[in-house]
């Protein structure tokens, strides 16, 4: 049973929803900021269209009128006709007092000076037609000032565009920086997203995949690195529980298997299991031409013991004999309760002669052992054993030969070992009857 470890963490759905929300808020803000910059450009453009361009045109017309003023002045000096001079002077008067001139202080002052100067020239020309020439030098200076004023007014108009364009350019530059910032932010978010998904989802899922692939009772319980995502934690916990369940099931299987293969009273193999294993062992020995011997044993006068002392005493004797078998035989030897007070043996890697020595050791131990009954009395029991070579015949035939040898041992007086084909050396075939000692 695995221990349920309570871990702190976040639900992946909530964590990624929060991440998406933060992403949306930041990007929404960035988009709004970019939209504001775009609006500044649009505003600057609209202002350029609606206000600045008309203003530039107004400056151009003012410059044109100043230039016209200069041209009319030149005409006054160029013509000889007084009527023409009057006509030009009339135009000069109109231009100098036109609202387009009056709304510009510098132009107003200069136009007024020009009007007064040219008016004086025209008046002088009435008295003396040659007089204007004496004013021409002064006029040239005034005309130069008019030319400069034309240039200044033109530049002032252009400056208005420059100002609006600067605002638009600055807004665009700012928008470019913000756009780069947004792209950088987007890249960082994408990177963070990939890292978080890899760290908190992909790697834990890969670990889960490995754990599921290796999930087995022979492997230790899977270990996972700490993770923040609760869904992952839940799956990992389920895998740990699954592993614990596998171990429990395996243990239960082992218990059941043992129960199915063992004799309930003596703890030795039962006959079915013995026959399965002995069959395999016999095949192995025969394949490799190794010596192998089987034996059948039967407790002497056991029915009489049961009748005299009861079944409980009989069971105790059987258990005691089983213990003696475990002590007297080798680890590799197989033994089972074949039925009632009858036992079957398989001695791998030894021929019948060597096996008979082991059997003799068992027989002697058995004959020497006194079994203490619960009521205070004690009994001794002997065993007869028949052995047969099993290296060249099937297990059933070998056991049949051993059983025949056992029958022979019984016939010879019990407490005896008989090897199929002859009495084993050191046997007690001539010993006195077993029942005399028993009682």
């Amino acid at each position: 049973m695995s221990v349920l470890i309570k871990q702190r963490g976040f639900y992946a759905s909530r964590a990624f929803a929060l991440l998406a929300a933060i992403f949306l808020v930041i990007f929404g803000t960035a988009v709004v900021l970019l939209a504001l910059d775009q609006q500044r450009v649009i505003d600057a453009n609209s202002r350029l269209q609606a206000q600045t361009v008309p203003e530039i045109i107004r400056y151009q017309r003012l410059a044109r009128n100043l230039e016209q003023l200069r041209q009319e002045g030149e005409r006054i000096f160029a013509v000889n006709s007084h009527a023409s001079r009057q006509q030009s002077m009339f135009v000069v008067t109109l231009i100098a007092s036109h609202p387009s001139i009056l709304e510009h202080p510098g132009a107003t002052q200069l136009a007024r000076e020009t009007e007064q100067f040219l008016g004086e020239v025209v008046r002088q020309s009435i008295r003396d037609d040659s007089r204007p020439a004496t004013f021409y030098g002064e006029w040239q200076r005034l005309a130069a000032r008019l030319g400069t004023q034309v240039d200044d007014v033109s530049i002032q108009g252009v400056d208005l565009v420059t100002s609006d364009l600067n605002v638009a350019t600055e807004a665009m530059r700012l928008a470019r920086y913000k756009l780069m910032g947004v792209l950088l932010l987007f890249g960082l978010f994408l990177l963070a997203f990939v890292v978080l998904v890899r760290r908190h989802l992909i790697k834990p899922l890969q670990a889960i995949d490995r754990a599921l692939s290796n999930l087995s009772v022979v492997q230790p319980a899977p270990e996972f690195l700490p993770t923040a995502m609760r869904e992952i934690q839940a799956v990992e916990e389920a895998i740990r529980e699954q592993h614990a369940l596998l171990i429990q099931n395996d243990q239960a299987r082992h218990v059941l298997e043992k129960l199915a293969n063992k004799d309930g009273l003596t703890g030795l193999m039962n006959r079915r299991h013995f026959m399965q294993i002995a069959e395999v062992e016999l095949q192995r020995a025969q394949r490799y031409r190794r010596p192998v011997t089987v034996a059948m044993a039967d407790l002497d006068y056991f029915k009489k013991l049961n009748d005299t002392y009861g079944h409980a005493a009989g069971d105790l004797v059987l258990k005691t004999f089983a213990d003696l078998v475990r002590e007297a035989l080798r680890q590799s030897d197989l033994v089972c309760r074949y039925g009632g007070e009858e036992f079957a043996f398989l001695f791998p890697e030894i021929p019948p002669g060597d096996a008979a020595k082991l059997a003799e050791r068992l027989r002697l131990r058995c004959a020497e052992t006194e079994v203490a009954l619960p009521d205070g009395r004690a009994v001794k029991v002997t065993v007869s054993i028949g052995l047969a070579d099993a290296s060249e015949c099937p297990i059933e035939i070998a056991l049949k030969h051993a059983d025949e040898a056992l029958y022979d041992a019984k016939h010879r007086g019990r407490n005896t070992i008989v090897l199929a084909g002859g009495v084993a050396e050191g046997s007690q075939a001539s010993s006195e009857p077993y029942n005399a000692r028993l009682f």
């Binding site: 045109i57 017309r61 016209q68 009057q86 006509q87 009339f90 109109l94 007092s97 036109h98 387009s100």
Partner: protein
């Protein structure tokens, strides 16, 4: 079903055809107010105002029909819906604003006092020539000056030359034209710019109150011709300096 569809299409087609056609506009103009509005040698209407109106009509894709009127009749004719546009530069007085809609101003003007040297506005015993229905006439009457009103700008010279009046009070552009006449120049009139707010300022075309949607179209068209050079070309063609 098919016959109903055909009927529906038949109903829609004339509408579609009408939508693509030019709108027809009636425009009132003067024919004796050079250089703003007059007839050329071939008898065709022309002048600064007339050509500006033509340019606007082209911009708004309207077919403009010119009808000649006098300065004194133009405001009422527009107010009564007898025409759609007054192709005359009108000062935006409070009285006129109640009668018609004004387009965006298309030029700026001022008024001149034309009189022999020493004759000043308001001087007792003077009679002043003005155009009937003009702002100058209204102003002179408000001042209690004796006036002689003529119907057209072209008629202003006659009373001056006949010594019926001692002075004329005229718009800037009319004075310019008047001064071109050798006979008038012989009078040696001295121009005096009248620094009176109601006699100077922005002048605009009038629009019939029954066609309010025209204002937006005309204003936009005026902006466009000012930007694309059309306006300045017309200005240079008729006037010696920029008047906007």
């Amino acid at each position: 079903m098919l016959s109903r569809l055909c009927l529906l299409l038949a109903c829609l087609l004339p509408v579609g055809a009408a939508a693509g056609a030019e709108q027809a506009l009636r425009v009132l103009v003067l024919d004796d107010a050079p250089p703003l509005s007059y007839r050329d040698e071939s008898g065709q209407l022309t002048g600064f105002n007339v050509e500006i109106v033509r340019a606007i009509c082209r911009e708004i894709q309207a077919s403009c029909q010119f009808e000649v009127t006098t300065q004194g009749a133009v405001v009422d004719a527009i107010a009564q819906g007898k025409a759609d546009i007054a192709g005359v530069g009108l000062q935006q007085t409070a009285e006129r604003q109640g009668k018609l809609i004004f387009a965006k101003a298309h030029y700026r003007s001022q008024s001149l006092w034309l009189a022999p040297r020493g004759v000043q506005p308001g001087q007792p015993g003077l009679r002043v020539a003005v155009v009937g229905g003009s702002e100058q006439e209204s102003y002179a009457r408000r001042q209690g000056w004796a006036t002689l009103a003529v119907d057209t700008h072209g008629e202003l010279a006659a009373p001056l030359l006949a010594r019926q009046v001692q002075a004329a009070m005229v718009p800037m552009v009319s004075a310019l034209h008047l001064h071109k006449s050798p006979a008038v120049r012989q009078l040696d009139l001295v121009p005096l710019v009248m620094r009176i707010p109601e006699l100077a300022g922005d002048l605009a075309f009038g629009i019939s109150p029954r066609r309010p949607a025209l204002k937006e179209e005309i204003d936009a068209a005026l902006d466009r011709i000012k930007r694309n050079g059309t306006y300045d070309r017309i200005n240079s063609r008729f006037l010696p300096f920029r008047v906007s």
